[in-house]
Every structure is written in structure tokens, then in C-alpha cells.
């Protein structure tokens, strides 16, 4: 459609008009609908799968079980971070002898319409012999053991003036995007065409090609809009094999749209950890060492992230503090629950909660203001760059630059935190339960090793950007269009962005780990610079002036000092047949953004409910390409992080039955629960590792929420360090000293 006014984002017109193209918006003639039959028990031997009634059901094309599968291995790990053998724990595409969680795919039904497929799926009978379900993380089988650290931790604890120890638990949460997963695959002209992949399409294409034993070129992935990612969408799941395989096998398009109840038991969960954490201080209250032992719940299988979340938990745990000695150990355990992956801020949300809670407890024990204890131990600008002697996702950790203490001061000043504190003290004196809390954290972003991008000035004058990044709703099309436009003297609206289509974007890595603006952004910048140089040379020929005397703005070149001697990019493209450049941006280190979360809450003594009176985030991003989008990322992340602190949890019965299988049970926050969130975007410390100077901003809105809300609830209750679990149990408030809630 033509657009009358400029919109904030290039994605907006189609999405606002209802003309987006999400996977379920694509229907093909003659398509079959696929329904997955899932295990209803947590742990059992699978004796028999009786499909006879399902096959006889009206409208059914076929029913497929594990016995019908070709020779195909389990789903491989995408992110190998440690030298750990994980093959024994990988998930098969359909269960055969054993089922290991409620929701595990056991069979699939193909039918002419989704209603018929769902009816028939309910007629498939699983004959099982139930086995014990061990849900306790400390009792569960272990898939991997991780350990990392530096310095002499034991001596530090032996010589410490003060040692503090505590245990903390983070519940199971997940991204729960508003659009569930879905996939459409169709055999066409000797190729398999697929709609609905995102996040890491090129990687998933390689996995699928390998499992189907066909060349990658025979698989074409189409671009599609995606209704939110947050880590969970776009990994390779069992359905990512089953749908294309059955399309190839039947010779017909096969479509699968996950329903919400499936999503809540089938898509990756995350976060569930227990931390037993200790800190040693000298007599001046300086940290000597931190030691953390983590039980990390991987669920029933190891999925595509391998042991990434446990690895990141350990590597990021010391955060923005001066920690002379550190030891982190993680037990990656298997429990009969939905397998786990990443969720916005993986490992950092959990580790920040544990570390910041411990510091709050320590401050109380040492008789210090929690902020003063932190200020004393924060890394100062002159200690950076710091080579920490840890590795994160296989990259050596170098905390490049920054001033965390300076950001803390600015955030406190801008938020009005001192006013919140004074107000809380006054209201507590009147018997109300009001409190404040702070959390400081370090993030990571811009994971390498590389990303591909291309910029083309087509003969028609259209500027087209292609990149390996993918759109998950975060606005990456606008960011990449803005980067290219800045370099070509255009507006973002003048640039067409193509992502996620493997015919137009032959190579790419994808969008995860807050990497797209850093990796794809810098690749686009480099490619656009080269196109601008080609165009400049052409303009110099046309205008018969020295290339150095040309200025690029408003979509064309102008000779210095002459209004008449101008030529537009479109005209140059028409004369020359256009220009194009492809670039690969490579980087072997991550960047480390950091931030502050501040919370102001009131606890209702009768219900235990927590109302947020104020929330503020200060975040160092290096450079904000489109500030409104950075703010949107931070506020949206905070809504998720706050909900993880107060509302969201996947609960299970003792025998492994999931209790959170609708959105009435798994409580996403509404506009009624998410408070106004103030944001300070700091651009004081551009990243040195990339030309744009950007540090990714996708996750820091969530990272500090659990820690900050817990601290504020503690303060409101007048019981420092009492909140030890997320989401915060309502009974915490009701156990308060005044007894009014009993």
C-alpha cells in the first residue's frame, strides 16, 4: 500500500493494516493439516500406540508413529559451548520406547482439515507403563557438570572477615509469544518450500537437509512475520522435522499450527534453577570471592541450546563487580518436564537474582546501605578492559569499557529513587508495607562469529538491504534500513529490507543473543559504505567533478558550491545498471552492556499481592540507532521480567502433570499489572569492537527485574533477604510480622 505519512517503523504499515504475513496466513491448495499426538504422562515405557480408530476417523489421511520414521537421529545441539558429550540426552522427533514429559510428540495425524485432525488425534491410544517421576533438581539424573572460575577461592573464604551464604530458586518461565509456533511445508518443483522458520533459518535448513538427506539447496525458506521470539521461537523442534518430512512423503503441502495448550507444554521452558551461593568479604567489606553451586533444570531432554544457559549463568555471575576469586559449578539435570532452552536474558536473569539477593543479605548483615556495599565493589572505569579469565558461549570474556557507578548515580538521580525511599519510610511508619529495591547487572550482546549482509542500489533506484538477521517483531528491519539510509543520504522508508528468504539471502546466522544490531547492523553499514563509494565515483564522472568534492544527502550527490550540479542515486543507478556490495562482519568478542533496575512497591497485607508504584531502568547501550526502539525493548523486557518475579510460573504436580496449560493458568501480565517504566538510555561508552559502537539492547529490560522486585518486597516487609524464590510466593507477604494478613 502507499503510505501517506511516515510511520515510526518500516514494519508498521503492513502490521497495522492486517497485511502482515504470519505463517498461519498462508494456505495452499490441497494442504493437509497436521496434529501432534502428545504424551499425557510424565515418564513411562511406551508399550503400544494404537492408531486404528484414528485412521478410521472421517477426513483422516494418515497417522504416523515412531515406527514409521525413517532412520533419523535426534535433534542436534546448535550451540556447543563446552566439551560435553550430550548425545545420549537429545530429543528424538517422535518418542519410541519411552516418553519423558507430558507433551512429548508420540504420533502425528494428517487430515483434510484441522478440526478432523484434532478429533482423530484424540482417538490415538497410548499404552504405557508408568515410571517414577523425579522432579526434585537435587535428586534428578545429571546430563552434564560445568565448572569455571579463577583465583584462589578456598583461601579467600578461609581468610575472610565475613562470609555470607544463601540459597535461591528461580521458577520455570518462558517467552510465550502471542503467536504460537507453526510451519507450512510444500513440495514444489523438486524443492521443499517452507514458511514459518525464523531466528536461525540457515542453521535450521542445514539440520533439516541433513536429517532428510537432501542438499540444502533443495530447501527454500520463505520470509514470514513472527509474532514474538524471546528465545523460544525458531529453534529446531520435533515439528520442524515432522512437517517437512511428511510434506515430502505425501507430496502435498502440510501445515501445522500449534495451539496454545500445546505451546505451553511443547515449546522450550527456561529459568528453573537452584543457587547455593556464598560470598567472602574482608573487614572493609570488599568482596574477596564468590562461589556458586547451581542446579540447572534442563527438563526431559537436552535441546538445541545444549548447556548454554548453565554456561552463561556461571560466566556472567560475577557481573559488574570486582571479584578477585570466583568458582561456579553447575549440575545440568534432567527432569520429566518440558525441555528447556533460552528466554530473554538467559542465565543473567537467574544469576543476577542470586548475586544481588546475596549482596542485599550481606549489606544487612554488615549493617550497610545496599547501594553503598555495591558502590564499594563495582568495577571502576580504570579497571577496564578486564580479562576475567572466564569464557562465555565459547568466547573469552573481556569486559571492554564502561562506568557502572556513574550510571548508577545518574539512574538514581533521574528516577527520583531517593524520593521513593523517603516516601517508603514515611508510609512504613504509618503501618503500610512499602519498599524500594535496586539491582545492578551486566549483560552480554553481539555474539559472533559473523553475519552476512548485502546492500543493492537497483537500476530502478530502489535500495534493497539483505541480511542474515531475522525479524521476530523487534524492529530489526527498521534498524537495518536506518543504518543503510544514514550512509546513503536517504530516509529509512526509502530502503527495502529482505530477511529470512534463503533464495534472496543465501547465507546468514540469525537473530538471537542481542546480536542483530551489532552483527547485521555493522555488516549493512560496511556494505552501504561501499555502495556509496561506487555511486560517488559514478557521480564524479557524470558531474565531471572530483569525487572528494561531492556531498551525499537527500538521496543524491551535489558538487560543493553548486546547486545545479546534482545527480540522484536513482539516476546514477539507471545510468550504470546499479551497484551492490556484500559484506561479512566478523567479531570474536562480545560486548558487555550493563544496567540498573530500581523498583518501588507496596505489598497488600491481606492478599500478599504486590503493586508496583514505580520502576526505572538505566542502561548503557553504546549507541542507540533508533532510541524509541531501544526504549521499547527495555520496557517490553521489563514487563516480562516483572511478570517472572510476580506472576508467571509453569507449575507441576508431584507426578509431573503440568498445571499451567492455558493462559488463564500461566499468567501473562496485562496492562493492569505492568506499571509505567521510566528509562534512561545511556550512550556514554560506545563499543570499541564495532564501527557503529552499538551494544545490544534486547535483553537488559528483563535481566534485573527479579532481583530489584525481590529487594523492594523485602524492604516493604521489613525483612531483608527474606525473598528467596521467584515468582515471589504470595505467602511471603502474609507471613509478615504485624500479623494483619493472617
Amino acid at each position: 500500500m502507499t503510505r501517506t505519512g511516515r510511520t515510526l517503523r518500516v514494519e508498521d504499515p503492513r502490521l497495522l493494516a492486517g497485511r502482515g504475513r504470519f505463517v498461519d496466513d498462508v494456505d495452499l491448495p490441497d494442504q493437509l493439516w497436521l496434529r501432534v499426538v502428545r504424551s499425557q504422562v510424565a515418564h513411562a515405557i511406551l508399550r503400544e500406540v494404537d492408531t486404528s480408530a484414528a485412521r478410521a476417523s472421517e477426513g483422516v489421511h494418515s497417522v504416523v508413529t515412531g515406527a514409521d520414521l525413517p532412520e533419523v537421529g535426534p535433534i542436534p545441539v546448535r550451540v556447543q559451548v563446552a566439551d560435553q558429550p550430550l548425545d545420549a540426552y537429545l530429543q528424538p522427533v517422535l518418542a519410541r520406547e519411552r516418553v519423558r514429559y507430558v507433551g512429548e510428540p508420540v504420533a502425528v495425524v494428517l487430515a483434510d482439515d484441522p478440526y478432523a485432525a484434532e478429533d482423530a488425534a484424540e482417538l490415538v491410544v497410548l499404552e504405557v507403563e508408568e515410571l517414577p517421576a523425579v522432579l526434585d533438581l537435587r535428586e534428578a539424573d545429571r546430563a552434564a557438570e560445568l565448572e569455571m572460575g579463577y583465583g584462589d577461592v578456598d583461601t579467600a573464604f578461609a581468610n575472610a572477615a565475613h562470609v555470607i551464604h544463601a540459597e535461591f530458586t528461580v521458577g520455570r518461565h518462558s517467552g510465550v509469544p502471542l503467536e504460537t509456533r507453526g510451519l507450512l511445508a510444500a513440495p514444489r518443483g523438486g524443492r521443499l518450500e517452507i514458511w514459518g522458520t525464523t531466528k536461525v533459518p540457515h542453521f535450521n535448513r542445514r539440520v533439516l537437509a541433513s536429517m532428510l538427506e537432501i542438499p540444502v539447496e533443495q530447501i527454500r525458506l520463505h520470509a514470514a512475520d513472527a509474532g514474538g521470539g524471546f528465545g523460544v521461537r525458531g529453534e529446531f523442534y520435533p515439528e520442524d522435522f515432522l512437517v517437512p518430512w511428511l510434506a515430502a512423503r505425501t507430496g502435498r503441502p502440510v501445515k501445522w499450527i500449534e495451539d496454545r495448550s500445546e505451546h505451553l507444554v511443547a515449546a522450550n521452558h527456561s529459568r528453573h534453577q537452584i543457587h547455593a551461593i556464598s560470598a567472602a568479604f574482608d573487614r572493609d567489606h570488599r568482596l574477596l570471592a564468590i562461589a556458586d553451586e547451581v542446579w540447572h533444570d534442563s527438563g526431559a531432554y537436552i535441546r538445541t541450546h545444549g548447556v548454554l544457559v548453565a554456561d552463561l549463568t556461571l560466566s556472567m555471575l560475577p557481573g559488574p563487580y570486582r571479584v578477585p576469586a570466583y568458582r561456579g559449578t553447575a549440575h545440568v539435570v534432567l527432569t520429566p518436564r518440558t525441555p528447556c532452552g533460552t528466554y530473554r536474558g538467559p542465565g543473567r536473569y537467574e544469576g543476577t537474582f542470586a548475586r544481588e539477593r546475596l549482596l542485599d543479605l550481606a549489606a544487612h548483615d554488615l549493617g550497610l546501605d545496599p547501594l553503598d556495599l555495591r558502590r564499594l565493589n563495582l568495577l571502576s572505569p580504570d579497571e577496564l578492559p578486564l580479562h576475567r579469565g572466564l569464557s562465555a558461549i565459547g568466547t573469552a570474556m573481556t569486559i571492554d569499557a564502561g562506568d557502572v557507578g556513574g550510571l548508577l548515580d545518574r539512574t538514581i538521580a533521574e528516577s527520583g529513587f531517593e524520593t521513593w525511599r523517603e516516601g517508603s519510610a514515611r508510609l512504613r511508619a504509618q503501618g503500610r508495607m512499602v519498599g524500594t529495591g535496586a539491582a545492578i547487572f551486566m549483560e552480554k550482546s553481539g555474539l559472533g562469529p559473523l553475519e552476512h549482509a548485502g546492500v543493492e542500489l537497483l537500476p530502478s533506484g530502489v535500495v534493497r538491504v539483505t541480511a542474515g538477521a531475522t525479524s521476530l517483531g523487534q524492529g530489526v528491519e527498521t534498524v537495518l534500513a536506518t543504518v543503510a539510509a544514514e550512509r546513503l543520504g536517504l530516509e529509512a522508508d526509502d530502503v527495502t529490507v529482505v530477511l529470512g528468504d534463503t533464495d534472496l539471502v543465501p547465507e546468514g546466522v540469525g537473530s538471537w543473543a542481542s546480536r542483530s544490531t551489532v552483527l547485521a547492523g555493522n555488516a549493512v553499514a560496511a556494505a552501504a559504505d561501499r555502495v556509496a563509494e561506487f555511486a560517488r565515483d559514478a557521480a564524479a564522472d557524470v558531474l565531471e567533478v572530483d569525487a572528494a568534492d561531492l556531498r551525499l544527502s537527500g538521496g543524491g550527490f551535489a558538487a560543493a558550491g553548486s546547486r545545479e550540479r546534482v545527480v540522484s542515486l536513482a539516476e546514477l543507478a539507471g545510468r550504470t545498471g546499479g551497484f551492490s556490495a556484500r559484506e561479512i562482519f566478523e567479531v570474536d568478542t562480545m560486548t558487555y552492556p550493563y544496567g540498573i533496575h530500581l523498583a518501588h512497591v507496596e505489598v497488600d497485607p491481606d492478599s500478599g499481592g504486590v503493586r508496583i508504584l514505580g520502576y526505572f531502568i538505566g542502561y548503557e547501550v553504546g549507541r542507540a540507532i533508533v532510541p524509541a526502539l531501544v526504549e521499547g525493548q527495555l520496557v517490553g523486557g521489563a514487563a516480562q521480567g516483572i511478570a517472572g518475579a510476580l506472576l508467571e510460573e509453569f507449575r507441576y504436580t508431584d507426578d509431573g502433570q503440568p498445571l499451567s496449560t492455558t493462559l488463564a493458568d500461566y499468567l501473562l501480565p496485562t496492562a493492569g499489572e505492568v506499571p509505567p517504566i521510566g528509562v534512561l538510555i545511556s550512550e556514554d561508552w560506545p563499543a570499541a569492537s564495532n564501527a557503529l559502537g552499538v551494544r545490544g539492547a534486547g535483553e537488559g529490560g528483563a535481566t534485573g527485574c527479579g532481583a530489584a522486585i525481590a529487594a523492594a518486597v523485602d524492604d516493604a516487609l521489613g525483612r531483608p533477604g527474606s525473598v528467596r524464590a521467584l515468582p515471589i510466593p504470595l505467602h511471603e507477604a502474609r507471613r509478615s510480622g504485624d500479623g494483619s494478613g493472617r
Partner: protein
């Protein structure tokens, strides 16, 4: 044998006749039988509101309405808010306020807000918050949605104020 019933409904001013199973939801009729794919399905449980459309002027969750219940009804979907050339003022304010990210919940919020602003031309901030709490958004954290509805209400109250 699955029985089908004939249903005639008007969508954004265009009359359609379809033969549907009695159990087929209105949202499936709109999306898969009639091609109005701007209305989205987020939960099929009536919780998220992504499928909100106006049925005879009132916002409903079209996953909780059967297609046969829409016989002779007038349905408005997001495709009917603007025209081929232009976004509606509310849609434009959603963009300028950055009230959408992935855009999946957005059609539902637009339809909800359309009916709300018609019935509450001068809403308080609390009324806006309460009404918009009917639907779920997983990306924005809601603040920009509330701001967009506020600005849209103010623009109607005083058309001279540019949002």
C-alpha cells in the same frame, strides 16, 4: 457425515455466504474461509484477545464465537479500519507511539480501542488502562498502547491537536 450450514455475513461492508460446520469458529471462517487474515489467533481460549473483531459493533473474541452465530451479522475487522491508501488515525497513532512490536496482538487492540473510544469519547487514564487490560501483548509492556489510546481520544476531543 459432517453437516454444514449456510451463513451469510457482512465483513467490512462486503457480504459473504459460506457453508460451515456448526462448530467452526468465527475466526476460522474469517481467516481461512474468507481470507481476512489480519485477525489473529493467540490462544483459542478467550484469554488473549488477539482475535477481537466487532460483531454488530461490539468487540468479541472471535475464537469464542461460532461462525453460525454470525449469520446476518455485521463484522468489522482490522482490514476495515483504513482504506487501500491510508491508515486510520488510530493506526497512525499506534505507529507514532511505537505501540506495536511484532504486531500479532495489534489488530485485536485496534478493534478493542475502536469500540472503546466510540463508547468513551473522553476516557480517564484509568478507564483506558482497565479496558486495554482485556487483551494481552507480549512485546510492548503496554505503556505505549495506553499512550496511543490516550492520544487518539485527545485527537477526537480536539481535532486541532496533532498527535
Amino acid at each position: 457425515m459432517i453437516e454444514r450450514q449456510r451463513v451469510t455475513l457482512t465483513v467490512n461492508g462486503t457480504e459473504h455466504t459460506v457453508e460451515v460446520e456448526p462448530r467452526r469458529t468465527l475466526v476460522d471462517v474469517l481467516r481461512h474461509d474468507l481470507g481476512y487474515t489480519g485477525t489473529h489467533v493467540g490462544c483459542e481460549q478467550g484469554v488473549c484477545g488477539s482475535c477481537t473483531v466487532l460483531l454488530d459493533g461490539e468487540p468479541v473474541r472471535s475464537c469464542l464465537v461460532f461462525g453460525v452465530q454470525a449469520d446476518a451479522a455485521d463484522v468489522r475487522t482490522v482490514e476495515g479500519l483504513g482504506d487501500q491508501e491510508h491508515l486510520s488515525p488510530l493506526q497512525e497513532i499506534f505507529s507514532s507511539s511505537h505501540a506495536l512490536q511484532c504486531g500479532f496482538c495489534t489488530p485485536g487492540f485496534l478493534m478493542l480501542a475502536t469500540a472503546f473510544l466510540r463508547d468513551h469519547p473522553s476516557p480517564s487514564d484509568e478507564e483506558i488502562r482497565e479496558a486495554m487490560a482485556s487483551n494481552l501483548c507480549r512485546c510492548t509492556g503496554y505503556q505505549n498502547i495506553l499512550r496511543a489510546v490516550r492520544l487518539a481520544a485527545d485527537a477526537v476531543a480536539d481535532p486541532s491537536t496533532e498527535p
